[in-house]
């Protein structure tokens, strides 16, 4: 008894000693890290042994087998207790190396210690069946069973969290059938790795693509729970601020950014990030980070504004980000009725869908003489008002009375009115077209005073004003109101030196 207590003391002292960091460096000793690598080996002993003990105990409940396995159960519990202690010790060494998600690690540790405690309790009761009688009276018969039950539960949970730490959180559910996945509140199998964004048009590149990478690969050690090297990578402010070695990224210059250097270091380097034993970035993730930094490392840029590189385009296509709906395509517009289309086409207009599976139409006036009956045309346009995106009345007989009706087509993005009878009065009605991007007024009688009505168009990107009454002053005013606007007032070739090589 004395001797075993002595060895127990030596063992505990060793375990504690090994957990002390090497003085001065703040890092665990290589030897304890080495011992830590035995955790995966040792850890499966108590799992198997303790479960077998429980199974044998369950078999013993059968009257014919009562008491037949007691010696074996006792031996199994004894080995189970000691091997679980060894597993916990090795686990603590392993955890010193870092790189594990803090929350899951804490639960893994707690559950591991519970296994040791309840396995010990079960063992003690098995050795001294009368142990609890002194304190527990009515409970004596149940304590052993409860201890075994809690132990089994703890073994299961410890194993689960261990698996999550090693293989990642979706390891178990990866091949769960879709029906069960849905019951568990998980996304469909086909959607794994695909972005689920509520409003992609309003989401930043950082939030959609960059933060999740940092979250899954970096913030376990560089986040709220731990700040290795004084660095946090969980918020834009912390990323900009940097750690002990300065800011990890240089906007616009991936090849100058420590974050990229560390990712690409060979695994033999102890500066390699994430460390060898932690889950590594995929090549796609590394490329997204590099591309994002090279593109200016913006925390504000929205997904629709992004200019993808061919490689990143391919990556995000596979993530289901291929198409970000903006403008009219983000709206929930009811598809047009085919009879309304036939009616409009009957007036001599070419009506075609803008794209398959879209509710929008392009409408073009084919004959110059057809668009003169403003009343009839407006009547035919009305049921399709929300469906018309491109309206080309160029070179037609359209006049101000017809343009009045265009004001009621809220989703028009491109509008051709060139070489028509439209005047300033007609433009007065167009100021509310919030999606209008393109307006062609060349060869009309519009003047500066008509342009004033267009200053409120938020989406307007190009306007054509050649051969109109618009002056430089009017152009200047419109440009000031909408700085991004491309205004064309006509071009011509200026004389150049002729090529004289041949002569």
């Amino acid at each position: 008894m004395k001797q075993s207590l002595f060895w127990l003391g030596v063992g505990l002292a060793f375990v504690v000693l090994m957990l002390v960091m090497v003085p001065g460096s703040g890092r665990p000793s290589d030897f304890s890290l080495f011992l830590g690598r035995f955790h995966p080996l040792v850890v499966h002993l108590p799992i198997g042994i303790l479960v077998v003990a429980v199974l044998l105990e369950a078999l013993s409940r059968m009257p014919s087998l009562r008491g037949r396995y007691d010696t074996g159960i006792l031996a199994l519990l004894y080995i189970g207790v000691w091997s679980s202690i060894l597993a916990v010790a090795a686990g603590l060494y392993l955890a010193q190396g870092g790189g594990y998600a803090a929350g899951q690690l804490a639960w893994h540790k707690r559950m591991g210690v519970l296994v040791v405690l309840f396995a010990s309790l079960a063992y003690l009761y098995k050795v001294w069946p009368g142990l609890s009688e002194r304190w527990l009276r009515h409970w004596e018969r149940r304590v052993y069973g409860i201890a075994l039950g809690v132990m089994l539960l703890a073994v299961t949970l410890t194993g689960h969290f261990g698996g999550v730490l090693t293989h990642g959180p979706d390891y178990l559910s990866r091949y769960l059938p879709d029906g069960l996945r849905q019951m568990a509140g998980l996304p469909k199998k086909a959607d794994i790795g695909r972005l689920q964004l509520e409003n992609p048009a309003e989401t930043t590149v950082y939030a959609a693509l960059i933060a999740p990478i940092l979250q899954s690969r970096c913030t376990a050690c560089h986040g709220p729970d731990a700040q290795r090297g004084g660095l946090r990578l969980d918020t834009p402010d912390f990323i900009t601020e940097g750690g002990d070695d300065g800011p990890p990224i240089v906007a616009g210059e991936a090849h100058e950014s420590a974050l990229i250097h560390r990712i690409w270091l060979p695994v033999s380097s102890d500066k390699k990030m994430p460390p060898l034993e932690s889950p590594q970035l995929s090549i796609a993730e590394a490329e997204l980070l590099r591309w994002w930094i090279d593109a200016g490392a913006s925390f504000e840029e929205l997904l629709p504004e992004v200019e993808w590189s061919p490689v990143t385009q391919t990556i995000v296509d596979h993530m289901g980000l291929g198409e970000i709906r903006t403008g009219i395509f983000a709206l929930d517009t009811v598809p047009p009725d085919s009879m309304d289309i036939v009616q409009l086409a009957g007036l001599g207009l070419a009506v075609t869908p803008l794209a398959e599976n879209e509710p929008y139409l392009q409408v073009r006036c084919v004959h110059p003489e057809t668009c003169t009956d403003a009343g009839g045309l407006q009547e035919a346009l009305r049921p399709l008002a929300r469906n018309i995106a491109w309206l080309d009345l160029g070179r037609s007989g359209a006049g101000d009375d017809l343009v009045e009706g265009i004001a009621d087509l809220p989703h028009v993005t491109r509008l051709h009115l060139q070489q028509t009878l439209v005047t300033d009065a007609g433009l007065a009605d167009l100021g509310d077209l919030e999606f209008l991007e393109y307006l062609n007024l060349y060869g009309t009688a519009v003047t500066d005073s008509g342009l004033i009505h267009l200053e409120t168009l938020p989406a307007l990107r190009s306007i054509y004003l050649w051969q109109t009454g618009v002056t430089d002053e009017g152009v200047r005013r419109l440009q000031t109101a909408i700085p991004d606007l491309y205004i064309n007032t006509g071009l011509s070739l200026t004389p150049v030196e002729p090529d004289t090589t041949g002569s």
């Binding site: 084919v366 060349y442 071009l491 002729p498």
Partner: protein, 483 residues
């Protein structure tokens, strides 16, 4: 009811206009086309446009084909190192495993036969042979590492326009009109304009409809004489009589179609109707004399003649009127140097002078009318030319030229959906091989269809048991040039 009648009724159920409209819920394009062909109701599926897969960036295409293979080394691909090597023997390592149309033995290197200058904010290198084009350099995306599989004119031209070097496939213009339909029922959706004194080597197949219904075939228009041959009414036949005879012919044709169901009969009906409408619409569209003087000045046109400049102006007039695809061919870029007309210091310079001003004018004119951002303009030949002197006869020859070269050549795109002022692809120091950004003819085709709103892998037509497409089993969209 006997069996034959029942079968006939069932078949008619499929082709009547009512049934057609009822089943067209998803295919709005079908409806729209039915409305377009108002005179010829009930066109079946093959005649209705597919409609774009996604919102297009361009609605129309003008393809300026410089037939013969213009030399990039005298136009856009500036190679000072080649000037230094001028007159030296070509190293054998460059010739190993290569086949040329004419070069045999060891040729001499030929330095650039042009002076180069950078133009615009983009600093694009353009030779002094194209002074006007320099002014619009910032609208252009150069593809400097194009490559093709063929080094002879006819197959290479077929590859560019039909995606296959062999006969029988529909041309790009046919695919595009099959996909998008027409915007103007009074004009052909696909118009072809020839200049330069010779038709394309591969003949009308480069604008043929292949196995697509022939309604999608390119219609050749002329600037001299009748715009379209055999369109005018014979003497003594008034338009009213013409109308009545067409009605009678079409009634018979429709009856024939009901009996045998051949879609080509519908094409024939549509062509008669189209021809009748074209009798008034085409002369109007083709009459360039009505353009104001400053436009003629801008393009450098020669009214009444067959000229590339006239065709450029026509191209603008046609897209303005809703023609989908205007295909220009200008022959005479085959600068071998075997004679004056095909020498870099002869005919080549004339071709440059003939095309420089009108092409620049076309881009500017489209832009000021607000059409450039909706019209894709493509310039290029069927292949490039070697950095080596060809010298076929081996004798002293005052004319210099280069042989066909399929490994690398320059094309450019501008307008709808294209980023201006950029260069994609790079060649080595002598312009012999691509260093980066290689673009195959199929990639160019995929990009053109993409800009028009099509996934090139999904714009297909079933023929002989499988779905065919313009890019066959190849093609990747060149995203670098997209706006």
């Amino acid at each position: 009811m006997n069996l034959a009648k029942e079968a006939r009724d069932a078949y008619l159920g499929h082709v009547t206009r009512r049934h057609f409209l009822k089943s067209a819920g998803a295919g709005l394009g079908a409806l729209a086309f039915a409305s377009l062909g108002a005179g010829s109701a009930g066109l079946p599926d093959a005649h209705s446009p597919r409609g774009p897969h996604f919102a297009p960036r361009a609605r129309r295409v003008i393809f300026l084909h410089m037939a013969g293979g213009p030399s990039p080394l005298e136009l856009f691909d500036y190679k000072p190192e080649l000037a230094r090597l001028h007159g030296q023997d070509c190293p054998e390592s460059l010739l190993e495993g290569k086949r040329f149309a004419f070069i045999r033995g060891i040729p001499k290197m030929l330095g650039p036969q042009a002076a180069f200058q950078q133009h615009g904010e983009s600093g694009a290198w353009i030779s002094n042979h194209m002074p006007h084009l320099g002014q619009v350099a910032d609208k252009i995306a150069f593809l400097k590492a194009m490559h093709t599989d063929e080094f002879n004119h006819a197959p290479a031209q077929l590859l560019v326009h039909s995606g296959s070097p062999r006969l029988g496939r529909p041309s790009m213009g046919s695919w595009v009109t099959y996909g998008l339909g027409t915007e103007n029922e009074n004009l052909p959706a696909f118009v072809v304009l020839l200049s330069g004194g010779a038709a394309p080597d591969a003949g009308a197949s480069v604008y043929g409809s292949g196995f697509l219904p022939t309604v999608y075939q390119g219609v050749q228009c002329r600037t001299k004489g009748d715009p379209v041959l055999f369109l005018g009414d014979p003497d003594g036949v008034p338009r009213s009589l013409r109308r009545r005879s067409i009605d009678a012919i079409n009634a018979i044709n429709r009856q024939q179609h009901e009996e045998v169901g051949d879609p080509e009969i519908l094409t024939r009906i549509a062509q008669y109707e189209m021809a009748f409408r074209m009798q008034t619409s085409v002369p109007d569209a083709m009459e360039i004399r009505r353009e104001p003087a400053y436009i003629h000045e801008m393009y450098g046109t020669e009214p009444g003649e067959t000229a590339f400049s006239n065709n450029c102006l026509l191209a603008r007039r046609l897209v303005e009127r809703g023609v989908r695809f205007v295909q220009l061919f200008h022959w005479g870029w085959d600068s071998h140097g075997a004679g004056e007309s095909e020498a870099l210091n002869g005919g080549f310079l004339e071709r440059c002078q003939e095309t420089d001003r009108p092409v620049a004018a076309l881009l500017n004119d489209l832009e000021q009318r607000g059409l450039l951002e909706e019209t894709l303009v493509i310039w290029g030949g069927e292949f490039g030319r070697t950095p080596m002197l060809e010298n076929r006869s081996g004798s002293d020859n005052p004319f210099v030229g280069r042989d066909h070269h399929s490994d690398v050549y320059t094309m450019w795109m501008a307008g709808g959906g294209i980023k201006g002022g950029i260069t994609h692809g790079e060649t080595d120091e002598i312009g012999y091989s691509a260093v980066s950004g290689r673009v195959h003819v199929h990639d160019l085709q995929a990009t053109i269809l993409h800009v028009l709103g099509f996934d090139h892998e999904r714009l297909t037509y079933p023929f002989q048991g499988r779905d065919f497409r313009l890019t066959d089993v190849h093609g990747q969209v060149v995203r670098e040039v997209l706006a």
